[in-house]
Amino acid sequence: MIDKKTIEHIAKLARLHVTEQEAIEYSEQLSKALSYFDQINKVDTNGVEPLVTPTEIESFWREDEAKEEFTAEEMTANAPAKAGNLFKVPPVV
């Protein structure tokens, strides 16, 4: 059971403001979804290595050289707020 307190904890971890109404809704929906998902516990997976990438990753070499693919102007062009080529953010310390 995912109660409102758990929802608030998860929302904090996810850096996601949820409204009172959303918290109630998510608590019901997540409980329902997770109890449905719990059926995978029926499978005996003892000793099975979890699969992450389904096809083999083939390593390759490349030259270690600096490339300028983008300018600072291009990289900051979409910023909601900036000062010159710097992103403007709230105080972080």
């Binding site: 995912i2 758990t6 929802i7 998860i10 929302a11 904090k12 971890l13 996810a14 850096r15 996601l16 403001h17 949820v18 409204t19 959303e22 998510y26 929906q29 997540l30 329902k32 979804a33 997770l34 449905y36 998902f37 059926q39 995978i40 516990n41 499978v43 997976t45 099975v48 290595e49 979890p50 699969l51 992450v52 990438t53 389904p54 096809t55 083999e56 990753i57 083939e58 390593s59 390759f60 490349r62 693919e69 983008f70 291009e74 990289m75 900051t76 062009a77 979409n78 910023a79 909601p80 707020a81 992103f87 403007k88 953010v89 709230p90 105080p91 972080v92």
Partner: protein
């Protein structure tokens, strides 16, 4: 040549030999987009420079340049793929003003082959949905019946292609988002093997499942598109270094002796009678052509939907952490920035910027990855995933292709399933296991419901053996009585 219905080869040949200019083709399709989009809401952004881009191709041809196998072919691109200078929003408010400074590898390769990008196509927000009802830009309508959904998440691609607002489209498929809308709109939709197509510049949903592919009107056009977009890319380490096969040249409708698997688990359950009839007819047709049918079993598919949602939501919660209101995208109104708490800044921006379904999946994924639950959910899902893949690989020892339905029913009504997330998730019952196992899969139209909605069949092959399924699809396409049927909005 009827420009609206022309194949890729016909267009490219006509443009390269100067019989028809790329400009004329782009102008023709631009007019169709202007005329039909108000009825379907398939396009989110129309490329105002498309005709100009086409003219530039004409100039290069006039100078004797050989443009490429897709010379002058007009394409629509799903909002998931970065297009330099054209908005790329993933169907979300949080990216509503984002204009990328670069092309995704898929788009760059299409352009290199001569494609003209006509605009961007609507989709479920961050590709999370199977009905195109979660888009910030509103629902897309199915051209066969505008009361119905086009499917999702690549719903804009499906609707635009079915109504021939373009000659070709690109979608992305994480759990069925190419095959299911292709099925609902009467198209050929292919999800290549994981690792065939570079994910560089494609907005990430679930990185171990995401793969882009064509949603087009014929098997040959699909093969030509795949040849253009597949292949190693140093910007994506999961791309394979294998050579891209000449799929289009090797297409063969000769299925004599081919072994086609019918998966026990997919041939039971509550399937709509028109879907069942379409699958039965496909089996019968292929039998008459000399294909052999064998029964195969992949018992772990029973758990594909829960494993899929656990893996996808977990990876999404991590991938979507980057939307923080700093580098790009939406930022909540803050007033005096120096008085704002950083956590509130993130929380408010993300709370306002993401839609309901996306937040639901971020919450689910964060929960599954959180301390104390990681082993029970993400790890456990990964273990079942490996068992599922191994069973599939075993099944492919006794068959070349697996044939199944794509969905349990044809397109459903707008609004019909949107209120119950779990019912919506079950739309993906036949499609998610392909992504979990990294296999290539496709949908090819072969029937019509009594209400006049298209129905396709799903073909799946083992890793990197796309040719097998393309050939079976090619054989079915040649024998189909629904080929050439036009939707209501056209």
């Amino acid at each position: 040549m009827d420009l609206t219905l022309a194949s890729f080869s016909e267009i490219a040949e006509a443009v390269q030999s100067k019989k028809v200019s790329a400009k004329e083709i782009a102008t023709h399709f631009h007019a169709r987009i202007e005329k039909l989009n108000p009825k379907l809401n398939a396009f989110t952004f129309i490329n105002g420079n498309a005709v100009h881009d086409a003219e530039a191709l004409d100039k290069r041809i006039a100078q004797g340049e050989n443009i490429g196998p897709l010379a002058g072919v007009p394409f629509g691109i799903k909002e998931m793929l970065c297009t330099k200078g054209l908005p790329t929003t993933a169907g979300s408010k949080i990216l509503q003003n984002f204009v990328p400074p670069y092309d995704s590898t898929v788009v760059a390769r299409l352009k290199k082959s001569g494609v003209v990008v006509m605009g961007k196509l609507n989709q479920d927000e961050f590709a999370m949905g199977s009905s195109n009802e979660t888009s910030f830009f509103g629902s897309v309508k199915n051209p066969w019946n505008t009361d119905c959904v086009p499917g999702g998440s690549s719903g804009g691609s499906a609707a635009a292609q079915a109504a021939r607002m373009v000659a070709g489209t690109i979608g992305t498929d994480t759990g069925g988002s190419i095959r299911q809308p292709a099925n609902f709109c009467g198209l050929v939709g292919v999800k290549p093997t994981y690792g065939r197509v570079s994910r560089y510049g494609i907005i990430a949903y679930a990185s171990s499942l995401d793969q882009a592919g064509p949603m087009v009107s014929s098997v040959k056009d699909a093969a030509l598109t795949m040849e253009a977009i597949c292949g190693f890319d140093e910007h994506d380490v999961t791309t394979t270094q294998r050579k891209v096969p000449a799929w289009s040249k090797n297409l063969s409708a000769n299925v004599k002796g081919m072994r086609i698997g019918l998966m026990k688990e997919y041939m039971k359950g509550s399937i709509n009678s028109d879907v069942q009839a379409t699958v039965d007819k496909a089996i019968d047709t292929l039998k008459k052509m000399g294909a052999e049918f064998v029964e195969v079993s992949v018992p772990m598919t029973e758990f594909a939907v829960p494993v899929y949602y656990l893996v996808a939501a977990s990876e999404a919660s991590s991938n979507l952490a980057r939307y923080d209101g700093v580098k790009y995208g939406y930022r909540a109104e803050m007033g005096n920035l120096s008085a704002v708490d950083l956590e509130d800044f993130y929380g408010k921006t993300r709370g306002e910027g993401f839609g309901k379904e996306v937040k639901r999946r971020i919450m689910l994924g964060t929960y599954c990855l959180s301390s104390g639950y990681y082993d029970a959910y993400y790890n456990k899902a990964g273990q079942v995933r490996r068992m599922l893949m191994n069973q599939y690989l075993e099944a492919f020892k006794s068959c070349d292709v697996v044939l199944s339905p794509v969905t349990t029913s044809p397109a459903f009504k707008i609004g019909e399933r949107v209120y119950d997330p779990l019912t919506m998730y079950l739309n993906d019952i036949y499609t998610t296991s392909t992504n979990l196992a990294g296999l290539p899969g496709m949908s090819v139209p072969f029937g019509m419901s009594q209400e006049g909605l298209p129905i396709g069949v799903q073909l799946t092959a083992t890793h990197f053996e796309e040719q097998h399924m393309l050939n079976v699809a090619y054989a079915l396409e040649g024998a189909s009585d629904v080929k050439g049927a036009k939707p209501h909005v056209f």
